[in-house]
């Protein structure tokens, strides 16, 4: 009986989180369109609803109703599985994300490691999509993204080690508690820079959007996708943005905790910090040109890798000295 209740509660939580996340993701796309539009001196969506507020819903409906095209020479099974393989890891990660002190689906001791492990699977979907489309542009996009995500995953993984050493735990809740005095971003500035760049690369966002560089590879790995399958890729990208932003907030910006003198609920703090992160993501997309593939790799291996290694060494050394 207890077990059944537990499962039921978990199911309800999952249902809530999943739906809220989907809705929020849809509206993030709206916000992105609006922010970029205003950066570019135009208005963005204005027609559907007040200031285009219903635009995401219209977009979703359109994608639902669109014809679903599977290319003749594609590998059907892999082609259909690929978008699922991209979306599922993106949402599974939400199982361990702490949205506030009390609101989370579950918490496990290796929370951070779980996130890294699951989010590393997203690249499968992309590689599968690129290969199964049987298109040269898709294949090139998939190759780029595989190389990019593999290498940047390494920097991402190494960059979280610094805060991890300070917190002494992989449990996300405990990491947040460890920052109740000072945010880790002040202790770990190098780690944060590396983390932020790697996070942008992991989510394939500008200026690292090489796998889907529309002016070079048409749309990269999802060139051949349409309708709901295309929407899956799109959703996954934004869901991943949320994940990396949340991880960044938890690791470097004290999670849902805010300064004591401003009495706001934890969830509000979380949303505020998340908004800032998302805004920076969008802002960068509106501002920066795109890196070239070899330059991206060079930045990663020749600049970020030594930096993050130095950071781990320094952290260990200083922790040994002062703590």
């Amino acid at each position: 009986m207890d077990m059944a209740l537990e499962i039921a509660v978990a199911a309800i939580k999952i249902f809530i989180v999943l739906n809220v996340v989907q809705l929020v993701v849809a509206y993030t796309i709206y916000v992105e369109r609006k922010v970029i539009a205003h950066a570019q001196m135009r208005l963005g969506p204005m027609r559907v609803g007040w200031h285009g507020l219903l635009q995401p819903i219209a977009d979703g409906l359109k994608l639902f109703l669109k014809e679903d095209i599977i290319p003749d020479k594609a590998d059907r099974i892999v082609f259909v599985l690929a978008p699922v393989m991209v979306l599922v890891p993106a949402f599974v990660v939400y199982a361990v994300l702490p949205f506030s002190a009390t609101f989370y689906i579950t918490q496990i001791n290796i929370g951070l490691f779980f996130i890294l492990a699951i989010s590393s699977l997203g690249v499968f979907g992309i590689v599968m999509a690129g290969w199964a489309s049987n298109s040269k542009y898709s294949l090139l996009g998939a190759l780029r993204s595989a190389a990019q995500m593999l290498s940047y995953e390494i920097f991402l993984g190494f960059s979280v080690i610094g805060p991890l050493m300070l917190a002494g735990s992989m449990n996300l809740q405990e990491i947040v508690h460890a920052q109740s005095d000072v945010w880790f971003v002040f202790y770990q500035p190098i780690a944060f820079i590396v983390f932020f760049i790697a996070a942008m690369a992991e989510t394939n966002r500008a200026p690292f959007d090489l796998p889907e560089a529309e002016t070079e590879l048409v749309a990269g790995f999802h060139t051949e996708y349409s309708g709901m399958k295309f929407a899956f890729f799109f959703l996954a990208e934004y869901a991943n943005m949320f994940v990396v932003s949340t991880v960044g907030i938890v690791l470097f910006f004290g999670g849902w905790e805010g300064p004591d003198f401003i009495p706001l609920p934890g969830f509000v703090w979380y949303v505020l910090k998340l908004s800032v992160f998302m805004f920076v993501f969008i802002w960068l997309r509106a501002t920066l040109p795109r890196y070239r593939y070899d330059q991206l790799m060079r930045v990663g291996w020749k600049f970020m890798f030594p930096l993050v290694m130095l950071n781990i060494f320094l952290t260990g050394f200083l922790k040994y000295l002062f703590l």
């Binding site: 970029i36 950066a39 570019q40 001196m41 135009r42 040269k136 542009y137 090139l140 780029r144 500008a206 200026p207 959007d209 090489l210 560089a213 529309e214 002016t215 070079e216 590879l217 048409v218 997309r285 509106a286 501002t287 920066l288 040109p289 795109r290 890196y291 070239r292 593939y293 070899d294 330059q295």
Partner: protein, 380 residues
């Protein structure tokens, strides 16, 4: 259907033992080939080993049309060549035909021609900057440039009624004088435009990613540029200070003061700087035109039917894209015997292979952008 044999030609060569080169087809429906250009790339990984351009999708036989209609009737056809900077084409044709005669073109017309020519240079360079930046991934510059290009097109509309294909000039001068509103609006545009150029530069000129993408990419030396027949901002980017407005002045350019910007390394970044500086110089020229604009008639006395004497002439002007010329053979009748268009885009595009081989796919996109082609003129 066009050029199907091209692919098979490349593919036949590519059967090597073990590894195979990837042949990809960029265009004619690719976001960054600027129209209907098709580039067949032979790749080793992401490095370009060989490249073949397939053009002609927009071939309309403009030269043949020119040989069968009168000199005046051909003016609107020139609009459709480099449709990004249509008045410039009109200017080339009009001045070319006028070379047959010894008409005294009124100075007011000459100044307005120069002014409109520079406006079209601004319009063209703005579209180039917009698409070039977009190709490299800078999205915002695209719309900022279009905001100003829109203003230039509005100016054309005020003066000539058309926006894109304006049919601006007539043999012997202008069709009629431009309205005062045009001069006033041009002054307003000139006043704000320099600060807008600063805005573009804020986003790009010192941007590290932009520098990495454009510096030392697509380098062409001055000698190679001449060998490939490259003209316009490309050859100036390679360090050759040569501008037809200065070398063979036409319209009111002998009386105008401007600087011919020159690059050093001949890479994409230098071409970018040259064009940005040309935007500023164009602004300066227009300002001078507005200040010096004389009064008087805008057209000289021309015969009712234009019948140039027998002979042949070649005349070219400095279009935004390079040297744009006409070779005309007259047989003494009202229609030219032979019209040849010297298209800068076509010849500059011929240098693409030299520029791209050995570079990466992403660079090909940047290089095509830096050549600044327009397919209407390339295919004619």
């Amino acid at each position: 259907m066009v050029g199907v044999a091209n692919v098979s030609r490349i593919e036949q060569q590519s059967t090597v033992h073990g590894t195979e080169e990837l042949v990809i087809n960029m265009g004619p429906q690719h976001p960054s080939t600027h129209g209907v250009l098709r580039v067949i790339l032979k790749l080793d990984g992401e490095t370009v080993n060989d490249l073949d351009c397939d053009i002609g999708y927009l071939h309309r036989g403009t030269e043949k049309i020119g040989e069968n209609i009168t000199y005046t009737m051909f003016i609107p056809y020139t609009d459709r060549l480099d449709y990004i900077a249509a008045p410039s084409n009109n200017l080339a044709w009009v001045t070319a035909v006028e070379k047959f005669f010894d008409w005294e073109i009124p100075m007011r017309a000459q100044y307005i021609r120069s002014m409109v020519g520079e406006l079209s240079r601004i319009a063209s360079h703005l579209l180039w900057l917009a698409t070039h930046a977009l190709d490299i991934g800078a999205m915002t510059v695209f719309l900022w440039c279009f905001r100003e290009r829109e203003m230039v097109l509005d100016l054309f509309e005020t003066a000539f009624g058309g926006r894109l294909t304006v049919n601006a000039f007539r043999l012997g001068g202008l069709h009629e004088d431009v309205p005062d509103k045009f001069l006033q609006l041009t002054q307003e545009f000139i006043d704000i435009f320099p600060s807008r150029i600063d805005d573009y530069e804020t986003l790009l000129t010192n941007n590290r990613i932009w520098l990495q993408r454009t510096r030392d990419v697509g380098i062409i030396s001055a000698e190679d540029a001449m060998d490939l027949g490259l003209t316009g901002p490309i050859i100036r980017g390679s360090g050759v200070s040569w501008d037809l407005r200065r070398a063979k002045p036409y319209a009111a350019y002998p009386y105008l003061d401007f600087v011919v910007p020159v690059g050093e390394n001949g890479d994409i970044y230098d071409r970018y700087l040259v064009r940005i500086e040309e935007l500023r110089q164009s602004t300066r020229i227009i300002q001078q035109c507005l200040e010096q604009l004389p009064g008087g008639p805008v057209t000289c006395k021309t015969p009712r039917t234009i019948k140039p004497p027998e002979g042949e002439i070649y005349h070219s002007i400095e279009n935004p894209k390079g040297e744009f010329g006409f070779y005309i053979v007259s047989d003494g009748t009202t229609t030219p015997y032979r019209v040849r268009i010297r298209p800068p885009s076509f010849i500059n595009l011929g240098g693409l292979k030299k520029l791209c081989v050995g570079q990466l796919v992403a660079d090909v996109v940047a290089i095509i952008g830096s050549i600044d082609i327009v397919l209407g003129e390339c295919d004619r």
